[in-house]
Every structure is written in C-alpha cells, then in structure tokens.
C-alpha cells in the first residue's frame, strides 16, 4: 500500500537519502527504558515526542503548545514547510495518527506514515542506527488549518447537517456508557492488522466505515476520550481519500465536562 498518505518499508528504503524527506520517530522514548529513539531508530530520523513536543501541562490537564512553539521545534530539527515528512510509530498506531493529525492541522502539505512502523522496518531487516542526524535549523511556519479540527461549538452548530457524520472511535463499551448524540461507533483499532501492526487492506477499511454510515462524500468528525485514538481514525480516513475529516481534539474529556451539552 503506497499512497500520498501511507508508505511501505520498500518505498522508504528507496527514499532514505532523498534530501527532501525527513523521517520523524514518534515512538515512546524514555531514557529509563532501553527502547525508543535513544536505543535505535531509522537512519536520518529525528525524534518527536508528543508528550513534550506537542503538549504542555496546564491547570485542568494537558493542552497543545502554542503552534509557533511547535513550529520552532520542527524547524530546529531541520524540517521545512516543503519537506516530505514520513512518520513512524511502533506499529501504525495512535502516536503516528496523532502526529499526522497535528502536522495536517498545522497546515503541512506532504505528510506520510510508514505502514507497520518500527515493527515492519525491523522485520524487513532494514537498517537502523543510534546516530543522531545533524540537520541545519530551518525556518518553519505554522499555517493552521481549522478545517482539520472540530470543537464542541462546531459540532453543536453543524451536527444536524445531512452531510455531517460523527464517528466515536472508542470501544463499544465506552460508547454505550455515553456518547455525543447521533454519533456512530467504530473502534479505532478495527483498522489495525495485529499480525503486521499495519493497516488492514484499504477495501476492508472502506467497508468497515461504510457499514456504520461513514461515507466519503460526508464531512466526518472523529472523537474519542481525548483525541488520540480519533486522530488515528483521522489518518485512516485520509489514507482512504476522505477529503473532509475533522478531529475533535477535546473529545469526551471536553464534551462531558461542559455544562448543558447532551449525551445519548
């Protein structure tokens, strides 16, 4: 499966030395654990730790850092607005999904995800390294695209439209405990092949979405508990060519704690 969104190990091997390609390691990394970026990574990959590079702690919970600050982080790692970015997670998981969504939200044009992630790369015997690449800092400008994002207000104003579908990507038990009215349910991990840790075949994925009424001609709003699992579904929908998809980053953590919003 190679596309403008999902790329294979073979594709990335062929583009490892392409000067316009920047590889981003979005895996969990912690100096106290013998794994993650510090232990080993793809050649020329730079780290992006959502926990520190995307979020900051604030009263009431974590929030997304200022876009200018995130843009500065990206620029310091040699990324420009014109770079072709290829992300990888352990598999094709929520961390890749969240990073993908964040970069699309920041208006980055060419973002792709390695199908099967680190797991597939290692299985293929492709090269890895501990060497940290040195890229010259580059200017990076956030061009925030609010069409990739939803808020509770946007849902309230638009959910009655015929062409809007709300997709709850939590487990069915979470969904039945309470969800946004009229949302349909498909757990994010239905898209993952647990043997390969990559995405299932595109035809299977499309059928899964269409079975619950998530059609490509609609505007889709995805949400979950706090916007990470839904970011994964955002990635999957984008990989299938759905053109209008918004991630409700606040998700149930935001919706359920606001005064007066309905639950079903």
């Amino acid at each position: 499966m190679n596309s403008s969104v999902i790329v294979s190990v073979t594709w990335l091997q062929e583009h490892l030395n392409d000067p316009n390609v920047r590889i981003i390691d979005a895996r969990v990394s912690d100096p106290r654990l013998p794994m993650g970026y510090r232990a080993s990574h793809l050649p020329n990959a730079v780290p992006f730790d959502l926990n520190r590079d995307m979020y900051e702690m604030a009263p009431g919970g974590p929030r997304i850092r200022a876009f200018d600050a995130i843009a500065q982080t990206l620029g310091e790692r040699g990324i420009t607005n014109d770079s072709t970015l290829v992300l990888y997670d352990e598999g094709t998981g929520p961390l890749a999904g969240t990073t993908y969504w964040l970069l699309k939200y920041m208006g980055h044009d060419d973002v792709r995800v390695l199908n099967g992630g680190w797991h597939a790369w290692q299985l293929a015997g492709a090269p890895t390294t501990k060497e940290v690449p040195q890229f010259s800092p580059a200017p990076y400008t956030a061009r925030v695209d609010e069409n990739q994002h939803s808020t509770a207000e946007w849902i309230q104003e638009n959910s009655a439209r015929d062409d809007v579908v709300l997709l709850d990507t939590r487990t069915d038990s979470e969904y039945y405990m309470g969800h946004i009215p009229n949302a349909v349910n498909l757990s994010f991990d239905a898209a993952i092949d647990f043997q390969t840790q990559g995405l299932r075949d595109a035809q299977v994925l499309r059928q899964q979405f269409e079975t619950v009424g998530v059609m490509s001609d609609k505007e889709i709003v995805v949400y979950c508990g706090s916007g990470s699992r839904s970011a994964h579904s955002y990635l999957v929908l984008k990989s299938l060519g759905y053109s209008r998809v918004r991630n409700y980053k606040g998700s149930m953590m935001d919706w359920a704690h606001r005064r007066g919003l309905p639950l079903e």
Partner: protein
Amino acid sequence: MYHFPCYLIPDTYKMNRWNPTIINAPSDISADETFDLKGEICPYTFVKSKLMLEMMESGQILQVIVDNDESATNVPKSLTNEGNTVLGTEKINETDWMITVRKK
C-alpha cells in the same frame, strides 16, 4: 437522548472515566521498581508502565507515580486488562497518585 448539565452526568460515566478507584495497597508491600511518570499524560503513562513491566520478572512489584486523575483512572484499568494485579491506587499528596501493580 438525555440532556443534562455536566454535574448530572451519570455516575457510571464519571466513575469509569476520571474518578480513580482508590485501593489501599497492603502496608507490607515492597516495590522492586518505582517509576516516576509525573508530567506525563495518557497514553504515555500506560505505555511506559507496560514497557517497564515487560523488563521485570513475573510476580515482581512496580510502583508508578502519576499526577493526573485521567492516568490514575486509566492506567490501573489498562494494566488489569493486560492480566496484571493492581494492589493499590492511592493519592499520596495534593496532585499525585501511586499505583502499585504485581506483574502477571
């Protein structure tokens, strides 16, 4: 469909999302490893706890410290789902929680 303000969200919902279930760990427990995950959020708190457990032997005890209610709710639940035994989920000061878990 039910319309209600946030303070009327069903207890089942609130309990299962952001209200950690307090369990006092036995006082004679001694941890084999302690993992400070303050400043970290879900899913990192769960993923890192799981990775740390993978480095430990079956039956060993890990104590994880987190500083937000979401993690104190979800980490014990997720570690239990993975087959481990959560021995304690205790609030140790104004903000922090200590989760004590025995590896399966």
